[in-house]
Structures are given as structure tokens and as C-alpha cells.
Amino acid sequence: MGVCYHPSPEEKRTMMTDRVIFVCTIVVAAVYLYATTLIPTLEIGDPLGPKAFPRLLGFCLLLAAAMLFVEMWKDRQTAAAAPAPSGPRDVRHLWILAGVVVWSGLFYAVLERLGYVVASAIYLLALMAWFNRGKWRANVVTAVLFSVSSYALFAKLEVNLPKGILPF
């Protein structure tokens, strides 16, 4: 039974996460309680008023955060060392993600102008050209079929999608 206790990387990681959660909650609760004071009060026969529940909530949250702090304090020896770095992420993955986000942004931007069918067919085609490389015929068929059939299905379900440049 060793006297010195060495925390595992996993324990260090949860310690770090708890710190982040603690700080986030304190900030959110503080902003929330401040915003609660901005709610106008009405002079009508409302026993609680619009502020009571939020106030209760804000204080409960602060209480829970304080309890978390106490638990972290009691466990402090397990996290004496510096926080473990979260594993290195593949840079290529981040680029792919960023690309998908930008392309999706473009899709949203032109959706109402071009209409759902055209925009989503182009959107799908480009994504599949990247993710499912080299299978042109399958990609084109899937992109067109999916956008047309989903549009028809959603029209049936009374989900309104932008028509755009197509007449139907």
C-alpha cells in the first residue's frame, strides 16, 4: 500500500472536466440571475410572479456547483499534477469538419433562392463526391433520387420546403 497516490490519466481528465463544468455553471448562473433582475414585475395578484421560479433555479444551480466544488476539494490530492492534455486530434479530420460546416453554410444561404430540390441535390452530390469517391453513377442517382423523393414525402407530410426555381 503506497503512501503516495498517483492519479491515473483518466482521473486527471475528469478532474479537469469538473473544473470546466464548475466554471461554466457559475458563469451561466450568474448571468442568469442578473438577467432575472431585468424581468419586469407586474402589480397583479400573482402570488409567485415570473421571477420566483428562475430565482429558485439559479440558487439551486449555485448550490449544486458549490457542492461540486466541495467534492473536488476533498478529492484534490488525486489531481495534484497538471491536467492531462486531451488526446491529439487528427488535423485532417478538423479540416474535413470545417469543410462540411462551410459547405452546409453555403447550402443554407442559397436554399430559399434555389429551392430544396436543386440545392439539396447539389449539396449531396458534392458531399458524396468527397465521401464516396469515384462512384459517380451511384452518387448522382442517390443525390437526385433522395432530393426528389424526400421533397415528395415531405409535401405529403405537410412539411413546407422552399420551392425556389422549380415550378412545382
Binding site: 500500500m1 503512501v3 475528469t14 472536466t17 469538473d18 463544468i21 455553471t25 451561466v28 442568469y32 438577467a35 432575472t36 424581468i39 419586469p40 407586474l42 397583479i44 400573482d46 402570488p47 409567485l48 410572479g49 415570473p50 421560479f53 428562475p54 433555479l57 439559479g58 439551486c60 444551480l61 449544486a64 456547483a65 457542492m67 461540486l68 467534492e71 476533498k74 478529492d75 486531451s86 487528427d90 479530420h93 474535413i96 469538419l97 462540411v100 452546409s104 447550402f107 443554407y108 436554399l111 430544396y116 439539396s120 449539396y123 449531396l124 458531399l127 465521401f131 442517390t142 443525390a143 433522395f146 432530393s147 424526400s150 415531405f154 407530410l157 405537410e158 412539411v159 413546407n160 420546403l161
Partner: protein, 503 residues
């Protein structure tokens, strides 16, 4: 009661509801087989499409999908050794071992038959629970409903993560969910809260974009990064050989299958534990049923009982999980919380109404679970040889299509770009929560229950002032909530003093 039971069946058999159920089954069938895409994600993605449906149609669609996911998920677990769903991981141990021994057909037969038995037990439990809990629920007033929501959040917070700090994390997540729910007009006077003069926030945050963000975006990011195609090797041979033997196994160990179904149902009723726990408890129970040491050592190497146990439990839990969701409006898991969101979209309020005016709708859910599982299992047996081919669709092919669905889902709620931004914001929040091990279920529960909790608190105080706190059921529930909260804290203290004594 019997009338409502029959009416529920007729409601599901109406052609439109039945067609939506078949659509749901087809989706759930496929999603269950695919390892990259989970049932919870799909449930969130499909939520926006039920706006125009009637309550019975909407639930036939959502439940039809949700209740078969674990059935087909078992197939992927057996054939490839990769869980088709998070709730079917336990089936791998013996199911995949059997497949490697050339008994894939027998393992599949056992998994399918036990899934059906499990689903039927769960549905029966739900049907039997309705007359039992009805007097209880009808005796509940606002104070009791307020407290039961608090107990639900307490349970889900303390059980969704380990230890005292885990529980507190859960509580903080639940509290943040409740906070987000207070954005918009207050339920009594209509005073705008936390809208920061933005008209978009005036009516509160729409559930659909938030749910899609929290539950679908992190999974999609994962799919983009990881790919999600099945790399495992398919066992050779015709799969329908020996399938009948697997069905016979189910009846050979019928009581074990029933007991594991009951374990699943019970875990489903308990808020916060969820299907991932049910399968392992059932597996453990199956191992305990071994009488000799040699028998016990056969587990993990292809004992059919190791397939029957989790196979039954991960299906029976759905019926159990619906009991608190429908009767008290307190969902026990993420998927049930999303389903509760579905209630509101369809204009239903869970609780007493579901057991009186809408009793037939509640019974239609029982029938949906029964019918969809019967249809799925029969379809699986008919096409047993072709099932494996369905899993070949690659994750990379899925990503673009799901992205379009994500977009439509968040946009069509109000045809407002604000919803897309909202979805992306909560997508980032959800991703960070997953990365940091912060449980998402309490957050969603708080978000979904927020307005109801506040309303019930308001009515309690308006009607009884603070005397509502002294009502007997409220006191019992309060004690329960305190016990659930204190238990992990006391345990943490004990384990600390023990480790100090050692040091």
C-alpha cells in the same frame, strides 16, 4: 378499460396509422442494423416530421421505429461482433462466439425469438400497469406532479453518471436544461424573460432544433470523422440453417427468457438506468443460471443463454420505460425524453389525461410495440439470408443524407433561420458535453419538463400556499428525492475515509 384496449388496436389498424407504423418499422429496422447510427439520434431526427400527424399516427411512427431498433441491433452484434445499437452490446459475447463456431443461424434465431418474447412482456407490463397506476395518477394534484418531476430529475442525475461528482454534474446539466426552458414568456402573466429584446426568443426555444443539436450533431461529427463502415468479417454459410434451433432454444429456456424480460421491464421503469444497464444485468442473470462450473465457463464461448438474456431484456425495457413517461410525464432515458417532446408536438399532455380522455391512444402504444415487433421478427426470419447485405451501406454514404435531414428538421419547425443557428449552437454544446463526459439526458429532461414544473409549482402555491409541502405523497416523494441525492454523497465520503485509512 377493455373497450379502450380494443379501440387502441383499431386506431393502429387504421390504414394511415398502419402505413406510418410500417414506415417507422422500416427506418428502425435499418437504423438498428447500422452500427454508426443510433436509435436515439434517429428519434431526434424524425421528430419534426410528425407535426402534421394525428397523435396515434405520430406514435405509431415513432414507437414503431424505436421499438424494433434493439431487435435488429442484435443481428449486427451476432454477425459482426459490433453492436448495432448501444443497447445490444451484450449480445456480442455469446452471439458472435456462436457465429464464429458456425452457429450464426441458431444465434440469430435465438436473438430474434427472445426479442419478440421480451417486447411482448414489456408491452403486457405497460398494459397491466395502466389500470394499476391510474387511481394513483388521478389522485395526484399539482404538488405531487411537481415533486414527481423533481424526483425524476434527481434519479436521472444520480444514475446517469458515477459517484458523487458524477451526480452533481447530472444535477447541473438538469438545472441548465430547466433554465433554458424558462426562456420566453412566463406561463402565467406572459412576461418576456431572457429574450434580450429578440422577437425570436419571445415564444421560447423550439424543442426540435435543440434536441437535434444535442443528440444528432455529436453523432454526425463522429460519423464524419470515423467513417462508420463495418470492418468485421461476415461468417460464412447460409444463415437460415439452424434458425429454427434457436427458436427452440428460446422455449427450452423459456423461464430464463421471461425472467430476463422482467429484468428489462423493471430497469425500464426505473428512471435513469436505461437499456445499456438492462442488457448487462440480464446477461449476468443468464450466467448465474449455469448450474455447474463447466456450464459457467461455456459463457462467452457461445452459450445460447447468453444471447437469450440480453436479447429479451433490451426489447422488454421499452414497454417498462413508457410507464412513467405516459403516466407521470417523467421519462427515464434520453429516448423517452425525446418521445415526451413528441407528446407536446402532437398536442398531448402526459399524465392523467393519457389515462382518461386519451386512454385509447395510450393503448395504441401497447399495440404498436406488439405489432411492430411481430412484423419485424417475421420479416427477419423470411429474409434471414439477405439481412447481412443491408449492413453494407457505408457511413460515408449516410453522412450527406443525414445532414440534409438535420437541416430540414431544424428549418421546418418554424421556417426560420434562427432555428438553424439554434441547432448548431446546441450541436456544439452537445458535442462538448459528450467530449467532457457530461450526461445529456438530465439536460434534455430539464428542458422538456421545465414549463410543466414551473406551472405545477405555480398552481401548488396559488392553491395551497406553502401547505402543499405537507401533503403526505409530497413528503414521501421529497424523502425519496433527498435519499437519491444523499446516497452518492455518503458513499463518496465512505470510500474516501476508507482510502485514508489505507494510506
Amino acid at each position: 378499460m377493455i373497450d379502450a384496449l380494443l379501440e387502441g388496436l383499431l386506431l393502429v389498424l387504421q390504414w394511415k396509422a398502419f402505413a406510418f407504423m410500417l414506415l417507422g418499422i422500416a427506418l428502425g429496422f435499418w437504423v438498428g442494423l447500422l452500427p454508426g447510427l443510433g436509435g436515439v439520434t434517429t428519434l431526434a431526427l424524425m421528430l419534426p416530421f410528425i407535426y402534421a400527424m394525428s397523435p396515434v399516427e405520430g406514435f405509431a411512427f415513432l414507437l414503431g421505429m424505436h421499438s424494433v431498433v434493439a431487435t435488429t441491433g442484435d443481428i449486427t452484434s451476432v454477425l459482426f461482433g459490433i453492436p448495432g445499437e448501444g443497447t445490444t452490446a451484450a449480445t456480442i459475447l455469446d452471439g458472435h462466439a456462436m457465429a464464429k463456431k458456425g452457429q450464426a443461424g441458431r444465434a440469430l434465431g435465438a436473438a430474434l425469438a427472445s426479442s419478440l418474447v421480451g417486447a411482448l412482456v414489456g408491452a403486457l407490463a405497460l398494459a397491466l400497469a395502466i389500470p394499476v397506476v391510474r387511481p394513483l395518477v388521478l389522485a395526484f394534484g399539482s404538488p405531487e406532479l411537481f415533486m414527481i418531476a423533481i424526483v425524476g430529475i434527481a434519479f436521472i442525475a444520480s444514475l446517469s453518471a458515477q459517484g458523487a461528482r458524477g451526480m452533481l454534474r447530472g444535477f447541473l446539466a438538469g438545472g441548465l436544461g430547466l433554465m433554458v426552458a424558462t426562456i420566453g414568456q412566463d406561463p402565467q402573466a406572459g412576461v418576456a424573460r431572457y429574450t434580450f429584446d429578440s422577437l425570436y426568443l419571445w415564444s421560447g426555444l423550439d424543442l426540435v432544433p435543440v434536441l437535434i443539436g444535442i443528440f444528432a450533431i455529436p453523432e454526425i461529427v463522429d460519423l464524419i470523422v470515423r467513417g462508420g463502415s463495418i470492418a468485421g468479417e461476415m461468417p460464412g454459410g447460409r444463415l437460415n440453417q439452424g434458425a429454427l434451433e434457436g427458436v427452440k432454444d428460446t422455449f427450452r429456456h423459456f423461464w430464463l427468457t421471461i425472467r430476463c424480460s422482467l429484468i428489462g421491464t423493471f430497469i425500464g421503469i426505473m428512471p435513469g438506468l436505461g437499456g445499456a444497464v438492462a442488457q448487462w444485468l440480464a446477461y449476468g442473470h443468464a450466467v448465474q443460471s449455469a448450474r455447474t462450473v463447466e456450464e459457467r465457463e461455456g459463457f462467452g464461448k457461445g452459450d445460447v443463454r447468453g444471447v437469450l438474456g440480453p436479447g429479451a431484456a433490451n426489447n422488454s425495457k421499452e414497454g417498462g420505460a413508457l410507464i412513467p413517461t405516459v403516466a407521470f410525464g417523467v421519462p427515464g432515458s434520453s429516448s423517452m425524453a425525446i418521445l415526451l417532446g413528441g407528446f407536446f408536438l402532437l398536442g398531448l399532455v402526459p399524465g392523467p389525461d393519457m389515462l382518461t380522455t386519451h386512454l385509447a391512444v395510450t393503448f395504441s402504444m401497447v399495440w404498436t410495440i406488439v405489432l411492430s415487433n411481430v412484423i419485424t421478427v417475421v420479416a427477419c426470419f423470411l429474409f434471414l439470408n439477405h439481412l447481412a447485405r443491408l449492413t453494407v451501406v457505408r457511413g460515408h454514404f449516410l453522412v450527406p443524407v443525414i445532414l440534409v435531414l438535420v437541416f430540414i428538421g431544424s428549418y421546418t419547425a418554424n421556417n426560420h433561420y434562427g432555428d438553424v443557428v439554434l441547432m448548431l449552437f446546441f450541436g456544439v454544446v452537445g458535442y462538448l458535453m459528450v467530449a467532457g463526459g457530461w450526461p445529456r439526458a438530465p439536460f434534455v429532461l430539464g428542458l422538456v419538463l421545465g414549463k410543466i414544473v414551473e406551472n405545477n409549482l405555480y398552481i401548488s402555491v396559488a392553491r395551497y400556499e406553502f401547505a402543499w409541502l405537507t401533503r403526505p405523497i409530497v413528503l414521501v416523494l421529497l424523502a425519496l428525492a433527498v435519499a437519491v441525492i444523499l446516497y452518492p454523497l455518503i458513499q463518496a465520503r465512505r470510500s474516501r475515509s476508507r482510502s485514508n485509512a489505507h494510506a
